[in-house]
Symmetry: D2
């Protein structure tokens, strides 16, 4: 194994995304040994010592640290991975870039185009490999969709139609976790969920040129949080506070290609758990994807014989499908966590080979421009060009 | 319209099946005018005068009659359609055949092979056109399946797998309607439901050569019926009686082709309403059909490219599909009642053209042989050859 | 049957909708005899004598006529049913109202609010019973949804989300039938499809107060029509012409209740046949409906125990469901044509009892206001209040 | 972490199951740290040195060994995990038991009841903790089903209906891997697939008392294997050989409870990948599970209000569901590999606490009795009592 290249990781943050990222680093060599890359879990960083210490043990990090600046200053770190709440991304990412580290940042990149732009400038000026964690690009079914579209299998594309529906805050007594606080999270369903849909649309459909949006907060008062857990939720206190993010974000879009699109995200759709779904209609066929059944891609081939046409459910677990040959036999499904392994696989291969990787900070910035345009559109009640 | 050929119908029986058959006759000229055949609803026959009189008006018959022998004796009747409970089929059908009438009989043809054989002898000796109402052959998706199999699209066929599940007697207080009385109905789920599956299997797969079966009555005592309705049910009295038919019938089968099959029917599957489902697996592909979604046929083409394989849901409502060009535009579904219109369309065309029609009494007899073999198998706990 | 009230029908138009309406009148007494109303198919009216004559025989009308004014002038007509292309609705409906007839008109009521308003004025001034054929209100699953919402079972409603997707013009060589001609049809997917969604939303959610829309024609040149058929299509000539309606119409909406909505209709979604689907999310639950599986309603009860929550597929074919007790036993599905029987049942009962019926011309007008607002919004690229 | 109990693992075998088991051991502490148990990957054992050496690195074992007897003789091994082809289970397991090791064995336990009985005797006599890897008991949806049944939520149970369908050998040129060799594998779909269904049925339904079976080999000649891979397949040579196992196994069963069951397994069902599906119908409700959508359980509650009844799709990813609170937020699915983590979690907790664990060797033996009875039934064409 002397040929294996080690990449030493510093992970900043240790909640839900910290768990997902560290799992991916650990599992990478087990499922993709042939790439010859070994991420080393060097140091986990968080503000609260006892918690970060426990998390470091749980996640398998060699060390922990409470000051991210110290981490970035270390020579034995190759890659800084930022999974903190959104408001701190900009400062950490810029410092990491200045220190010459590879930088991997959770989405959304920042809470404004200005901040995302500063981050993109920093990685460009310092010429450091960079990536943003739009992990759904790592879904085999999505990679198959990308391949089909690039191959022209859908023909001229007319429609994009996406919803990202969840229901974890339908209960009006769900407490104000940081994801419901505008100063920390930037926005609600908007930056958390629809950002994923925007990246997916840019990936598969190309650039969005203009939008008309509508953002809403249906439940404006909720209990203040007592204690957070690592499953998005937490315990409510008995005091009420103001919700300062959107519950729901919806917009119409036009693509550079001439196609039209609808986007919707909400955390108030009872029964929808992680219903990140999109449909694309083209002159030669259509595809449908839903993250809740992420091992499947629905495909309609308009060129099938007339009496044999129908949406087929492709189980994307065959050896012929992207990524899945490295996991289990056909029909033996993978899960949410594998999207991170796949994305990180591609990222580290690109970083190691010195190739441009997508989604990178430029993609994060492009996504942010759409997010900001939707906010402006919603506030000004007008179409906004990107 | 001088070219239209009239066929004068006498319908014996006026419950659920009477409603379905008379509807089909009425609708035939509306949806299939091009065949130039007009069924005339001449006379409806039933034992209880006030009820048959009311039904004749409701169904659109010109006349009613309480003695089926008188009906058969009439010169102005071309076709005798028998939808009475199973125990009376044999006598009526034989008399109708002797009178030279076309004979159309509900399934199962009879309660034993001996009776079904006598019926088949009668139609053969008198050389009268004859048919048995396995109406599911009139489903567009089933006709498409037949076409695909004949075309070799599924290759060598290995497996038949059918279930016919209902739940209308799950409630132990559901009363003993005639369908739960052995002396009238012959059997329970066996003759009522699995008979349909056997006919479907014979139609699509060829002959069955041997069976091993198991029949059960889970709820042996139920309330005696007070009053029947036309939706399979009725009102319970406060007296209990013996259930003399099976609740459930299951068997393994071998086909002449070498394929193997499983058959199951039950009226005790909570949540299944008219879940008449089958799956066929061959070397080149598979198909799945479920009567509850009768406008769809699932199809897997094993010869699709590796990364594009999947069960597709064909909406069999296109103009290219059997029958459906005569109804509504694609996607505008038809229902249960249209299976009767389609089957009667084919039957009357064949009768008029003097061609052999299937399913005929010979098919009903062949089905009965399998039904009887399963009963014997269940009683003797042994494989039975057909 | 002396108590049966006859209503004599004049049907103006005999294409796809003519077939659907006349079928419904014929079948009404067969499935709903207990209402004591018998529609009499008195006269069918169309411009081309040989065609209307043939259609009258096919549909079962006693007479035919080529001049609709003569029809309206007759004393032996109680109800004028208008199923002509959209541009002629206004004149016929107003004359029928002036003549004191009951008026039943296909949707969309007219091509502009002004015309629809004139129609509404006419029925109001002449105090005639009136209805518009938003037939999807006659779907049992939709009626169940209405009952659930009125019952409060979904709680406070946050989201409406509808798509009405078809693919019959995906082929760029599909000819310019009247539904693709602006001067006759008024609009494309907009008035044809999204009008249904608007009515459904108004029925279930209440009034829409403002919209932001986007309408597109992707394929602007198509072959001129040679000959129409009765399944929406026809034969293409070898000359090209201009498509003067939209292929696709999409809009965001706000409801009076505070809920938000998305609406999309297109005829360019490969694989979607009659995919008229909506989802509603409320604080206590969600429902989903899709016309392609019109015998089912998906329902999520947020108040189920935590580990038992899930979208259930209700087969709306039980005797306990709206309308279906009059058809077939549970699980034996009905089809597209029965939506017309059900709507006409309700309409004729209301007309006979002198009660206000919905959807009536006021509903058609309200729908038209939304349709017009979307057109204006799309043209001016601005939110429009209704 | 001083409180963490280490359990030192020797894994015998390193193909598909070796990969699955070692992954589960590695991941256990990451997802279930609260149990305080750490499996230590001490030694991996296999016959071919270069391959086992490479696999040890890949899987994360400290050492490798080529002689399983040496491994069992070591003092620093607590648990022997046997994932070799079926023919070697008996010898290894008995030696491990004699050495006082905890024994964990892949299913089916052995190729005959006699061998399985000897294994069970060995673990009983030596009083060692033992388990058999029926990993599907570790599926959250299955654990939920178990809980519901124990709770009486399905009432009196009438029907079990299972299929385990795959298609990886539909191609007649698929080579004879060890799973197609009777002397190594014991049987084909029978021991490989239907064994899982039998265990599942015993787990959820109780004991099976008699069976009538039918086993078939449709493709009797196949190419001899050139080289195996770790996804069930391999490369074909150009020589043909005899297939000495079944392609398909089907049987009828009666349960001690009075319920009836059907079981089917095949590797020849085109389009079915890992279609391990079962349905249970009881007097109060029904459930359906399919491993291809293993994060879902379908549930029909017969006691819901009449017009609200329907099969609901429970996404078993909520914190309230078994196991899933330790993984990701609701709607973020897990995959095939997690079934092993969950089962091993329960096993190691029980072993550590000195409690009886199921499925253990007694369960493996009970399963084997049914497997053998089906073989005998198929050969003698008779019902066999267990």
């Amino acid at each position: 194994m002397s040929a294996t290249k080690q990449i030493r990781i510093a992970l900043i943050g240790y909640q839900f995304m910290g768990k997902a990222h560290s799992n991916a680093y650990r599992q990478l060599t087990k499922f993709f040994p042939e790439i010859g890359i070994e991420p080393v879990l060097q140091v986990l960083c968080g503000r609260t010592e006892d918690k970060v210490k426990a998390a470091a043990v749980k996640f398998g990090f060699a060390e922990y640290e409470t000051d991210w600046r110290k981490v970035i200053a270390r020579d034995d770190i190759d890659l800084v991975d930022i999974v903190t709440p959104g408001d701190s991304h900009v400062e950490i990412a810029i410092e990491a870039a200045k220190a010459g580290k590879m930088v991997f940042c959770e989405k959304p990149l920042a809470s404004t185009v200005a901040k995302a732009g500063a981050m993109q400038d920093a990685v460009a000026e310092n010429n450091v490999p960079n990536a943003v964690c739009f992990n759904y690009r790592g879904v085999p079914a999505v990679a198959l969709a990308k391949k089909m579209i690039e191959n022209g299998d859908l023909g001229r594309i007319y429609h994009w139609r996406s919803v990202y529906l969840q229901d974890w805050i339908v209960d009006p007594n769900f407490p104000i976790v940081w994801r419901l606080q505008g100063d920390i999270a930037g926005s609600g369903a908007h930056g958390d969920l629809i950002a994923h849909s925007i990246d997916m649309a840019r990936y598969l459909m190309g650039e969005i040129t203009e939008v008309s949006g509508m953002m809403d907060t249906f439940v404006k008062q909720r209990p203040i949080l007592a204690e957070i857990d690592d499953r998005l939720g937490g315990k409510a206190s008995d005091q009420m506070g103001e919700v300062t993010v959107d519950d729901s974000s919806i917009f119409l879009a036009r693509f550079e290609s001439g196609a039209v699109g609808t986007f919707e995200a909400t955390r108030m759709a009872a029964g929808r758990k992680n219903h990140n779904k999109f449909e694309i209609n083209g002159s030669k066929g259509s595809i449908v994807f839903n993250m809740e059944r992420m091992n499947e891609l629905e495909y309609y081939n308009h060129e099938d014989p007339d009496d044999r046409k129908g949406f087929r459910v492709i189980q994307t677990t065959d050896g012929s499908h992207p990524y899945t040959g490295n996991y289990w036999p056909a029909g033996h499904i993978i899960g949410y966590e594998h999207t991170f392994i796949n994305l990180i696989r591609d990222m580290l291969v690109a970083f190691t080979e010195g190739k441009e990787f997508h989604p990178n900070f430029a993609d994060g910035l492009a996504c942010q421009k759409v997010l900001d345009a939707v906010v402006t559109s919603s506030e000004t009640r007008s179409w906004q060009k990107i």
